[in-house]
Amino acid sequence: MALYRSGLDPWADPLAALQRIQNEVNRAFGGTRPRAAPEFPPLNVWRGEDGVVVVAEVPGVALGDLEITVHQNTLTIRGRREPDVGGADVTFHRREREFGAFARTVTLPFHVDPDQVRAGAHAGILTIELPRPEAEKPKRIEIKTA
């Protein structure tokens, strides 16, 4: 076994041995595994009895630059991240932020009335409240005994 190297007693510190295995696995896979392009914006979805709240991190995007559409049970968020560089005569030291068009689609567990949907953005966090229509709410069925 390659893991039991001479001079190293794996039982002296089992956590260190595990850590070493993890490091080796990460080294073997971490560098070669192609990372999927991160989806923008990242979404957190909150579910409750009264509906769904979708929260997204959209730094640098104003609410006016977002297009939120609801069709039946599909929510779509579209927008564009524009670079805020002023002037052409600039030299970049670091360029880590990403810009361009984005779109995300969320399939909801119920049909939504578009007039009931409320959206707000604050500090780069977009919140979309999607209430569940009364007709779509689960109904309690009374069981009658004969």
Binding site: V25, N26, F29, G30, R33, R35, A36, A37, P38, E39, F40, P42, L43, N44, V45, W46, R47, G48, E49, D50, V52, V53, V55, E57, V58, P59, G60, V61, A62, P83, D84, V85, G86, G87, D89, V90, T91, F92, H93, R94, R95, E96, R97, E98, A121, A123, G124, I125, T127, E129
Partner: protein, 131 residues
């Protein structure tokens, strides 16, 4: 670490642990230089203006931000692609910065710092008097 949650910002490593049990992210940053200033723009979604702290100590510019979370009452998180945490980054500046002229603006979760360069002192002619 093998990180499958690709949408998450990288967690800042190699620094002492924080007392608060929440991640500290290394926010994506653009830095560019114009003729008279250095501009830093950093994505910090969820940070309020009073949650940002910018310090320039000698040549080290440190920016920290405390993220606020949106937790709708009566709802349970069923799908998560990002975590709420704090932000921290530090840069060593090579330019001489006019400390009193630093401007910071936070808009839509993006912090924009304008660090004006120190203007070179105008050349001074020293007249030599004959003794």
């Amino acid at each position: 670490m093998i990180d499958q949650t690709s949408g998450q910002q990288p967690v800042a490593e190699d620094r002492p642990e924080t007392t608060r049990n929440r991640p500290v992210f290394s926010p994506p940053t653009d830095i560019y230089e114009t003729a008279d200033a250095l501009v830093v723009s950093m994505e910090m979604p969820g940070v309020e203006p009073d949650g940002v702290d910018v310090t320039l100590d000698k040549r080290v510019l440190t920016i920290t931000g405390v993220g606020t979370s949106v937790e709708p009452e009566g709802f349970a998180l069923s799908h998560a692609e990002y975590r709420v945490g704090d932000y921290e980054r530090a840069f060593t500046l090579s330019e001489n910065i006019d400390r009193d002229g630093i401007e910071a603006a936070l808009r839509d979760g993006v912090l924009r710092l304008t660090l004006p360069k120190v203007k070179p002192a105008p050349a001074k002619t020293i007249s030599v008097k004959a003794g």
